[in-house]
């Protein structure tokens, strides 16, 4: 509904009120994929979101196109406007609001500096054409929200570029806008950016992208992970390992490194997550594997806190950056399963060295490198644990640093190599 509470020569207020049916939202086809919870307690019926943009597209199509039936001269002129959108679901902070609106010439009246909540009262003032304002709102409200209620396809690029015509290509945060407006679909975003100015796609998402991996980002500059994989592969080679169990194989990065090794006749990757294993299956191209490869390289679902009879009879097991994802009180189950039950001749384990964390920029004091890390150990902690495990189960253990060694804090990652006594 649209109504005009105030109409005078000096000032006119138009109110557009959008009433969404909360029951249909949950019932209808627009169920969001954020899990079941999002279905029933959600702010969608109340906040300005992509629903608002859709409504604007229907109601203000003419105005947004810069046309007016009766007052074309006013439509063509920049006028002084105050805009209020309430409430807005803000996925970010005040800085985001500034970054989006200030370059376009708006003054931000609200939210204030001290905002805490995710639901804000957005007030802006500017002097510009009404059509421009509406188009800004149309594009930027879902960007603030970082969500769209419908499936986004290539058509969305056309809509974005049409409504962004004349301002988006100049906007300093056009990447952010494009990314969020296209629901983080990288291929769409690249196409949109290319069309905007034939620009090269950016290499790394600087903010809020769903694939953000904090640990990787910290460690990326030193190629630490590649280093780890090399070190583990080298240990396996030196010990003439023919069969290896990669416990916590994730998406198969160590496995794809090991596949190239001659002499490894059997590589089995184990992970607790079906989805991760599916990704590993794709990345290792196991769907295209011939018989020989399919026999040599396999994946299985398994868990490090359970025993597993399928783990018997392997030369070696590797646990690359795995143990820190296990609750400390469950490590004893891993030790039993691996060192008392499966008993491979060789166990190679790597884990972050917590001492090194102070040297990472951007890692807050006392924080761990990854939200799923249940602990990170100092060198002394890791070594004392590993010594006990080795002693109790008939293994010898040696340690090596991984990555550049700092005199005080050691290396970013640490490796333990357990060899079963009496195994050549």
């Amino acid at each position: 509904m649209i109504f005009y509470p105030e109409r005078s020569q000096d000032r006119t207020t138009a109110v557009m009120h959008l009433d969404l049916d909360p029951v249909a939202l949950v019932r209808g086809k627009n169920q969001q994929s954020d899990g079941l919870l999002a279905q029933y307690v959600n702010d969608r019926p109340f906040v300005a979101s992509s629903f608002l943009s859709v409504a604007m597209g229907r109601v203000f199509a003419q105005t947004m196109a810069g046309k007016s039936k009766d007052r074309q001269d006013l439509a063509d002129r920049a006028l002084s406007f105050e805009v209020r959108v309430v409430p807005v679901a803000l996925s970010g902070d005040l800085d985001l609001v500034k970054r989006l609106f200030e370059p376009l010439g708006y003054t931000i009246l609200s939210p204030s500096e001290t905002i805490q909540e995710q639901v804000v009262d957005l007030r802006l003032s500017a002097t510009m054409r009404l059509a421009d304002i509406l188009r800004h709102i149309y594009v930027l409200v879902p960007v603030l929200d970082n969500f769209k209620h419908y499936y986004v396809s290539e058509e969305e690029i056309d809509k974005l570029l049409a409504k962004g015509d004349g301002w988006l290509s100049e906007h300093p945060d056009k990447e952010l806008i494009t990314r969020r407006a296209l629901k983080h679909r990288k291929s769409l975003m690249n196409m949109a950016l290319a069309r905007l100015e034939e620009a090269a796609p950016p290499d790394e998402a600087p903010e809020g992208a769903p694939k953000l991996r904090p640990e990787e980002q910290l460690e990326k500059p030193m190629r630490l992970h590649a280093l780890r994989l090399d070190a583990v592969a080298e240990v396996l080679r030196q010990n003439n390992i023919a069969s290896v169990l990669d416990l916590g194989c994730g998406e198969g990065r160590l496995m794809s490194r090991l596949i190239k090794e001659r002499g490894l006749a059997r590589i089995v990757g184990v992970d607790a997550s079906v989805r991760t294993l599916e990704a590993a299956h794709r990345k290792l191209r196991l769907h295209q594997a011939g018989d020989a490869m399919a026999k040599r390289v396999t994946l299985q679902m398994g868990s490090l806190t359970y025993g597993d009879r399928r783990w018997q009879g392997f030369d070696a097991a590797t646990l690359v950056e795995v143990i820190e994802h296990i609750e400390p009180h469950r490590l004893s189950a891993l030790v039993l399963s691996l060192f008392a039950d499966a008993r491979p001749g060789l166990v190679v384990m790597t884990t972050p060295n917590r001492e090194y964390n102070v040297l990472f920029e951007g890692l807050k004091d006392g924080k761990l490198r990854h939200p799923d890390h249940r602990f990170e150990w100092t060198r002394a902690e890791f070594e004392s644990w590993a010594d006990t495990v080795a002693g109790e189960h008939g293994y010898d253990v040696s340690f090596a640093p991984l990555g550049p060694v700092d005199d005080t804090h050691g290396s970013p990652s640490q490796m333990a190599v357990f060899k079963q006594k009496g195994v050549a």
Binding site: D43, V47, V274, D308, A340
Partner: protein, 851 residues
């Protein structure tokens, strides 16, 4: 008429030339599904039952089909010519692999008759030479069939013989499934006769007067008709081998006792039969005694041993007794391998540092439901391990003689009066954990990573699809508490049937009607608290935790969520709450009252904000704030307008929306408070789920609430739950429930829960819902949205399907209590854990989360 009996589990091989009449013979005597025919297999793989080029593949299929049937312990008949020795050899091998007795039924018919028959049938246009060659080949092998491995051979020389044969089926010797005992299963005697008679006395047997050292059998029996079941190894090492033999033989003769063969018995019989045996391991002592007896007596002993079975499969397959134990796949089967396993156990051929054979620990991997009771390996204590128990407690070595009473599953022992022999390996020293607990430190993933089928004691077997078990396994392994604590996961609770009209979506009337319509009128009604579900496993102290849960890290309890995760992130905070709860149990005298050193409580832990901080921040607060600011901004805009058409309706609606949003806010606020200190928590237990020896799902809710009432007085962090017992036949009681509900929910309470007082109750259509929630009008705003009760919304929301939720609540209840019962009965943790996993797996079924 020739009558023969064959075992009811066997591989029956029909032998005969083409045209000898095997197929009609087979159809006459066996079920169609029991017959695996080479012609039929040939047809399946080639569409032509005479296509000889398909013979190789056809026989692969025949062997495969037969092997699956045999694996499932089904009698199987092979309808193929099988006239060649090498063809029969493969079948004998197959029978051995699955421990089925191979039986040959030979149709040795004149080849001329075979040829004539073939000519009468389509597709059998082979020459005369074919049946002739078959017949010749058959003739060559006829005499050697027994030698080939057939345990039973029947040769029919003519069509008349074939027609005259009558076949009956008999259970295998070892198949005593109809014998339900009760049994007193007595461990290796090894000539410890004095201990044996003392033990028999303790067990209540009456032994007839007898004279020591003579040849008369000693007779004894139990006045209640119990059976003494000896696990073998009657003699050697001890001082009174002859008397031990006399008693066991006497009881077996009378039928008051039974015995399976042990390796010592087997060896003794070799000596009795005059074979050359080394007289070691105490055999010399037995020989010295028996040498003084008459030849007739020795013959009697030898016959007795000769007749002993390898094992006994008893009580509907729920009990197996064998001297050295038996793997599940060998139960109730017959082969020399079964006999060897039952007598000697499974060995690798290696010997250990004491010169004893290295045994494979079959019991560790045993996952069967049948109890397997055995002896053979002397242990310090008789203990359960995965439903198996070794009752050899080394009496001859100065240990004790032990009996297991079954089905009671209790052991009775008497100590040895002396050490009669020195063991090669010392008996295991005292262990801090039981054998089962030691084993249960590790559960096996491959036991669960499959479609699970769980039999419950609630007359239903529940299936869990593999993908759901895998999802549950992932969650378990990443987030759950130690499985040794996780003995139970709670079921979801049914929401009441929807109110058909009026301002309420849920109302106590419908819940009361639901129970009344199922004939349940004795209810307990309880306040429903809005916090987070918490399961509290409490032990009296760390020692008690070790004894009952096998936990050795000094913890005396845990608190976990309804999905099995630790309730508190901080272990010290958990320990502090556990300590307060244990102290409360102590001062309320509940340890004593329950006669238990541990207890499992089902509770709600408040405030909601303690656990749901993240949810509140991400979901509930933004929704409420958005609803509020949207409505107030609209009202503001309307207030500044003059009279505009249609605005009055909008104003009225926005006013309502604002007030709904505010009520939603107040409702949430009521469930949230800062709880930085333990004192600010409120724990409201509502079930005493289990304690030593008992699952309290058979106690009325009045007992639960009264007992918990005492607990609640012991510590201010405990909050008593308001409750009432009501009789649905009383209109006054029904009204009281409604007015209580109105009052309680009007003051911000979540709602009430209605439960059949009897706790677990079956109706005509299965389990009665064990609990049903009726949530308040304002509480539902945080579930269905602030404006859910606008008329246009509520009418649509009434169309909610409750069937799935009801079914889920019922299945989870059964699984949860099945697991808990298993724990209380001391079943292996792997069997307890599968129930918890299954509850978690069911939670991944899609159900409307608002219910």
């Amino acid at each position: 008429m020739t009558k023969i009996a064959i075992p009811d589990f066997a591989l029956v091989v029909l032998v005969g030339a083409t045209g000898s009449g095997k197929s009609s013979f087979a159809r006459k005597h066996f079920l169609e599904t029991e017959i695996v025919s080479s012609d039929a297999c040939r047809a399946i793989v080639s569409d032509d039952e005479t296509d000889l080029a398909a013979t190789g593949d056809a026989f692969d299929l025949l062997h495969y089909t037969a092997s699956i049937r045999l694996k499932r312990r089904l009698l199987t008949v092979i309808d193929a010519t099988s006239v060649k020795r090498e063809d029969r050899a493969k079948l004998v091998q197959l029978a051995r692999k699955y421990h089925a007795l191979p039986v040959a039924l030979v149709l040795d018919i004149d080849p001329q008759i075979c040829h004539e028959r073939n000519q009468d049938r389509p597709n059998r246009d082979f020459g005369e030479h074919v049946p002739r060659n078959h017949s010749r080949a058959l003739g060559r092998g006829l005499r050697g069939l027994q030698k080939e491995g057939f345990r039973q051979v029947q040769i029919m020389k003519s069509s008349e013989d074939v027609d005259a044969l009558e076949i009956s089926r008999e259970p295998l010797w070892t198949d005593n499934r109809t014998d339900h005992g009760p049994f007193d299963i007595i461990g290796d005697i090894h000539g410890c006769f004095d201990e044996l008679t003392e033990l028999m006395g303790e067990l209540g047997y009456q032994i007839d007067p007898f004279e020591a050292g003579c040849e008369d059998l000693i007779r004894a029996r139990h006045p209640e008709g119990r059976t003494a079941f000896f696990v073998g190894d009657i003699t050697d090492r001890g001082p009174r081998n002859l008397d031990a033999l006399r008693l066991v033989m006497g009881m077996c003769d009378e039928g008051s006792g039974r015995c399976v063969i042990g390796n010592h018995d087997f060896k003794l019989n070799k000596w009795l039969k005059g074979r050359n045996v080394t007289q070691a391991h105490g055999l010399d002592l037995t020989v010295a005694e028996l040498e003084k007896t008459s030849e007739a007596f020795r013959k009697q002993v030898s016959d007795f041993i000769w007749d002993l079975r390898s094992h006994a499969w008893l009580a509907d397959g729920n009990l197996v007794i064998a001297h050295a134990g038996l793997k599940e796949e060998l139960h109730g089967r017959g082969s020399s391998h079964v006999r060897n396993f039952a007598m000697f156990g499974e060995t690798t051929g290696e010997v250990d540092e004491f010169g004893l054979p290295v045994r494979l620990e079959w019991a560790r991997d045993y996952r069967g439901n049948a109890d397997v009771v055995f002896g053979h390996t002397p242990m310090a204590e008789a203990e359960w391990l995965n439903n198996t128990m070794c009752v050899d407690t080394g009496c001859a070595f100065g240990g004790k003689l032990t009996a297991l009473r079954w089905p009671e599953r209790e052991t009775v022992s008497v100590p040895a009066k002396a050490q009669y022999a020195i063991p090669a390996k010392p008996l295991d020293a005292d262990q801090s954990l039981s054998a089962q607990q030691d084993h249960d430190r590790l559960l096996y993933f491959d036991d669960y990573a499959t479609k699970m089928r769980i039999e419950t004691r609630f007359k239903s077997t529940l299936q869990i699809p593999e993908e759901n078990s895998l999802a549950a396994l992932e969650v378990m392994s990443r987030f759950a508490v130690d499985p040794r604590w996780l003995i139970y996961l709670p079921p979801t609770m049914a929401a009441c049937p929807t109110a058909p009209e009026g301002p309420f979506l849920e109302h106590p009337d419908q819940a009361m009607d639901h129970f009344a319509s199922r004939g349940v009128t004795d209810l307990v009604v309880e306040e429903k608290h809005m916090g987070s579900r918490a399961l509290l496993v409490l032990a009296k102290d760390a020692d008690a935790a070790q004894v009952r849960f096998g936990i050795e890290d000094g913890k005396a309890g845990v608190i976990y969520t309804r999905t099995g995760r630790p309730f508190f992130k901080d272990e010290t905070e958990e320990a502090a709450v556990v300590a307060r709860m244990r102290a409360a149990m102590q001062s309320a005298g509940l340890w004593q009252e329950l006669q238990s050193e541990w207890v499992l409580l089902d509770a709600e832990l408040m405030p909601w904000s303690a656990k749901a901080q993240d949810l509140l921040k991400r979901q509930y607060f933004p929704t409420m704030t958005a609803a509020k600011s949207s409505a107030s901004a609209l009202l503001e805009a309307i207030a500044t307008s003059g009279a505009i058409e249609g605005l009055d309706a909008l104003r009225a609606r926005a006013t309502n929306q604002l007030s709904n949003a505010e009520r939603m806010g107040q409702t949430i606020d009521g469930y949230c408070w800062a709880a930085d200190r333990i004192d600010e928590y409120r724990i409201a237990p509502f079930h005493i789920l289990a304690s030593e020896g008992k699952v309290h799902a058979d106690q009325p809710h009045t007992w639960h609430m009264e007992t918990l009432g005492k607990l609640a007085e012991a510590d201010p962090i405990l909050q008593m739950t308001g409750w009432k017992r009501v009789d649905l036949n009383s209109a006054a009681d029904r009204e009281a429930v409604v007015s209580w509900w109105m009052k309680h929910t009007g003051a911000g309470g979540e709602g009430l829960v209605l439960k059949p007082n009897a706790f677990t109750l079956r109706g005509d259509k299965g389990l009665i819902q064990p609990a049903m929630k009726v949530r308040g009008r304002d509480y539902l705003r945080i579930i269905y949205g602030p404006d859910y009760d606008f008329p246009e919304n509520i009418e649509r929301l009434r169309q909610r399907g409750l069937g799935r939720k009801f079914s889920l609540a019922e299945r989870e209840f059964k699984l949860g209590f099945e697991g808990l019962n298993r724990f209380v009965e001391g079943r292996p943790l792997s069997k307890v854990h599968e129930c918890a996993l299954a509850v978690l797996a069911l939670e991944s079924e899609p159900v409307d989360p608002r219910l």
